[in-house]
Amino acid sequence: AQSVTQLDSQVPVFEEAPVELRCNYSSSVSVYLFWYVQYPNQGLQLLLKYLSGSTLVKGINGFEAEFNKSQTSFHLRKPSVHISDTAEYFCAVKLQGAQKLVFGQGTRLTINP
């Protein structure tokens, strides 16, 4: 069975600083990878996804992620964060051909002025 590990439960950063949220997965078969964001008191919104092709994927709000098959990682990055990026971020994996998503534990990103 596949699993997802988000290595940091909380990440505090200063405004305009770069940030990386780490995600590792385990699976014996090919997977699709996703990052979702959850703003306070809201549902989940898709930030970006990796299905195939280029390992660097760009998403909304200036975020990007790089798929590294050898390290089974899919880390999320943003070169300069804003106060509005304060939210919970979830990495998720889905087996190719399946429909069920498996989520990581989440990383709470806090932006300090």
Partner: protein, 114 residues
């Protein structure tokens, strides 16, 4: 993308009672799912809502506690039965729409059991 409406958005309920949560999508979708997000936790899949047949439950979730209906391709309900404070969570409806591989989520129902 699909527009997913969940009702109610939040509720405070007495222990021992039941609450039914509705999920309405503005277009027909292939798959509908129900997730639970306990306070400070990640999302856990409760079940897949199957149109015209019984839902498929994940390990640790049973139909008697979380009965699910899906009468058509745009609507589903989740009932949380005989509630206890441990059921206090956010419950989220999710859909996979057409050939897309990503899931879309409703805004969630924030349930507090007292």
């Amino acid at each position: 993308s699909a527009v997913i409406s969940q009702k109610p958005s939040r509720d405070i309920c007495q222990r021992g009672t039941s609450l039914t949560i509705q999920c309405q999508v503005d277009s027909q979708v292939t798959m509908m799912f129900w997730y639970r997000q306990q306070p400070g936790q990640s999302l856990t899949l409760i079940a897949t809502a199957n149109q015209g047949s019984e839902a498929t439950y994940e390990s640790g979730f049973v139909i008697d506690k979380f009965p699910i209906s899906r009468p058509n391709l745009t609507f589903s309900t989740l009932t949380v039965s005989n509630m206890s404070p441990e059921d206090s969570s956010i419950y989220l409806c999710s859909v996979v729409w057409g050939a897309n591989t990503e899931a879309f989520f409703g805004q969630g129902t924030r349930l507090t059991v007292v």
